[in-house]
């Protein structure tokens, strides 16, 4: 009898605990009637943001997923996207930190294409900020100047690839890419590529290692860093760590007459105040991204430093920060100081980027 009472009590307790569990649980999860076939969702990708880096930009329409990043990585190197065999990586060479030394554009502009690193933290793209959204940055590449993509061929190639058939579903739940119109297909491709590009984060340079005590600067590198972050060198106002860019636009006195691509940001805004302004490039991986400036006018870091030391051109739109040394606009650095600055700039090289799998 006692045993039966004990069993009854345990049964009551069990029922009560079930009741408690149900009462305290969020009911929304329990109301779902999930069919096994429809339950698949891409796996969220957690971007590993290095300490001190800013909040990254992700659009709600294109959240990072493990499958999307993998798809984008493959598409970045996929000749199927073009009718001429070109891929993103044809121009964005990994051994050059995903940059292009010089691109001679169809419109006659000569462009040193910035590296595809740390793009997740930027709010505009290209030298003049012509693109604001990373997710669709590559849409233009399907045009005649780059991939010259044949839409029928692209559908056919992707549809007949078991990998892409599978991966487009895994990344975007697209069961049949033929159901997408061409614009939507291109958009999904660029979404995947942008997901991959967001994962290319450069944060393992000697400078980064120095910050956490894993590398000791040489005397020259230290001297260069102190100059960089001083009013004497005054590089830091535009090239702020950790991106070594303030993500803004400046006219740093590269020219005093502005034609063609040299007009910079003004080509986008049509505002005369923006003449000669360009997005501040990152200084990370400079050793891989020569030549320098928007048009690659300088071949070496020494030339760049010498330009800021003695070659700044004055124009009405020159950035206020540049006229600190007015009326001469010269830094008057010694050769030793210039060498030190170059030595510091080279500590921003991140070899892990060119060795990424």
């Amino acid at each position: 009898m006692e045993r039966m009472y004990f069993m009854q009590s345990r049964f009551f307790l069990f029922v009560l605990l079930i009741g408690v569990f149900i009462a305290c649980n969020d009911t929304t999860d329990n109301d779902q009637d999930v069919k096994p076939d429809d339950s698949y969702q891409p796996t969220p990708y957690k971007l590993q943001v290095p300490k001190g880096f800013p909040l990254y930009n992700i659009s709600k329409e294109n959240p990072l997923t493990v499958e999307g990043v993998e798809l984008g990585k493959r598409l970045y190197r996929e000749p199927m996207l073009s009718s001429n065999g070109l891929t993103c990586s044809s121009c964005h060479h990994q051994d050059k930190s995903f940059s292009t030394p010089i691109y001679n554009a169809a419109n006659g502009y000569k462009i040193s294409v910035p590296p595809h690193i740390n793009l997740a933290f930027k709010r505009h793209f290209n030298w003049n900020g012509s693109e604001k959204v990373l997710d669709t940055l590559c849409m233009v590449d399907f045009g005649p100047e780059f991939f010259n993509t044949d839409s029928a061929q692209l559908y056919n190639n992707l549809y007949n690839s078991s990998y892409y058939k599978d991966q487009f579903y895994k990344a975007f739940l697209i069961k049949d890419i033929r159901q997408l119109n061409f614009e939507d297909l291109k958009r999904k491709i660029t979404y995947a590529i942008s997901q991959y590009m967001r994962t290319i984060i450069s944060s393992k340079s000697k400078y980064d290692k120095m910050l956490v005590g894993e590398y000791t600067f040489t005397d020259k590198e230290m001297q260069g860093m102190l100059l960089f972050f001083s009013e004497t060198g005054d590089c830091f106002h535009c090239h702020q760590p950790p991106l070594f860019s303030d993500t803004e636009f400046h006219n740093t006195g590269l020219s005093s007459v502005f034609n063609g691509f040299d007009r910079g940001r003004e080509l986008i805004t049509n505002n005369p105040i923006d003449i000669g302004k360009f997005a501040t490039p990152t200084l990370r991986n400079l050793e891989y991204t020569a030549p320098y400036m928007h048009d690659g006018r300088f071949n070496t870091l020494e030339e760049v430093v010498e330009f800021y030391n003695s070659g700044v051109h004055v124009s009405p739109n020159i950035d206020p920060i540049m006229s600190k040394k007015a009326p001469s606009y010269k830094l008057n650095l010694t050769q030793e100081q210039k060498d030190a600055l170059v030595a510091f700039l080279k500590t921003l090289t991140d070899e892990s980027i060119i060795n990424l799998p």
Partner: protein, 244 residues
């Protein structure tokens, strides 16, 4: 059996109480919100970036291309007593209008003064203490120059006495130069669950006057790292805001 039913009833009552969300059992305090609307003016007109030439007390003719700063430590007073205080810093880029700052959960009542810091107090003015974004990333103050953040960046062009255009960059940072906006007279009434509004205007010319008439040419067009110029600007900044 009766006892068992009572026990079960008590148990369910206990469970019900345990499952109530925390916010439902919080003490109810009658409070409302205050939204600050920040404007930047010279005289009584909004700043026109880059194009309009202004004149300060020293006679400098200048344009404005950048107004970036932090606001923090908002304090609301009534009859000399601090009633409300919040230290959440807000980054302001004057080009990104409209600029609104919401102060939440303010106790119901009348308020006759507001004060704040232009910059960050010593406990916050440390790298990594506030979230870096792609917008405020340009505000870092190099460790080798003292560390922390720029409190203020004013930039633009001015004409020298010989009519040559030059840039200026009035930057202030470092703990000794925190800019304490003195209490501003206001007339705000906060009521329960309602939002009140307050217009605050930064008069740009005040940066260059009271108590120090600041001349961009003779005092200096670059202040960063210069204790004397930063001190003068910080002192002048104590009354740059007024309530409209």
């Amino acid at each position: 059996m009766k006892l068992k039913l009572i026990l079960i009833g008590l148990f369910f009552t206990f469970i019900q109480v345990s499952c109530v969300h925390d916010e439902e059992i919080e003490t109810q305090v009658r409070s409302g919100n205050l939204v600050l609307h920040i404007a930047h003016q010279v005289g009584s007109t909004d700043v026109q970036f880059d194009t309009v030439i202004y004149t300060n007390k020293a006679g400098n003719e200048y344009t404005i291309s950048r107004i970036n700063y932090y606001l923090s430590n908002f304090v609301l007073y009534n009859e000399g007593k601090i009633i409300y205080q919040t230290n959440t810093p807000v980054y302001v880029d004057a080009r990104n209008t409209p600029i609104t700052i919401k102060l939440a959960n303010i106790p119901e009542g009348k308020y006759d003064k507001i004060s704040m810091l232009i910059g960050l107090d010593a406990t916050t003015n440390i790298h990594g203490k506030i979230p870096d974004t792609d917008e405020n990333i340009g505000m870092l103050w190099p460790e080798s120059m003292g560390g922390g953040y720029h409190f203020l960046k004013l930039e633009g062009k001015f004409n020298t006495p010989d009519s040559v255009q030059r840039g200026y960059a009035v930057h202030v940072g470092l703990n000794p130069f925190i800019i304490t906006q003195q209490p501003i007279n206001i007339n705000v009434n906060i009521t329960d669950k309602n939002t009140s509004n307050l217009d605050l205007v930064m008069n740009m010319n005040e940066w260059y006057q009271n108590p120090y008439t600041y001349d961009l040419y003779t005092d200096g067009n670059y202040t960063m790292g210069d204790s004397i110029t930063m001190f003068k600007i910080a002192e002048n900044g104590k009354d740059v805001f007024y309530a409209k």
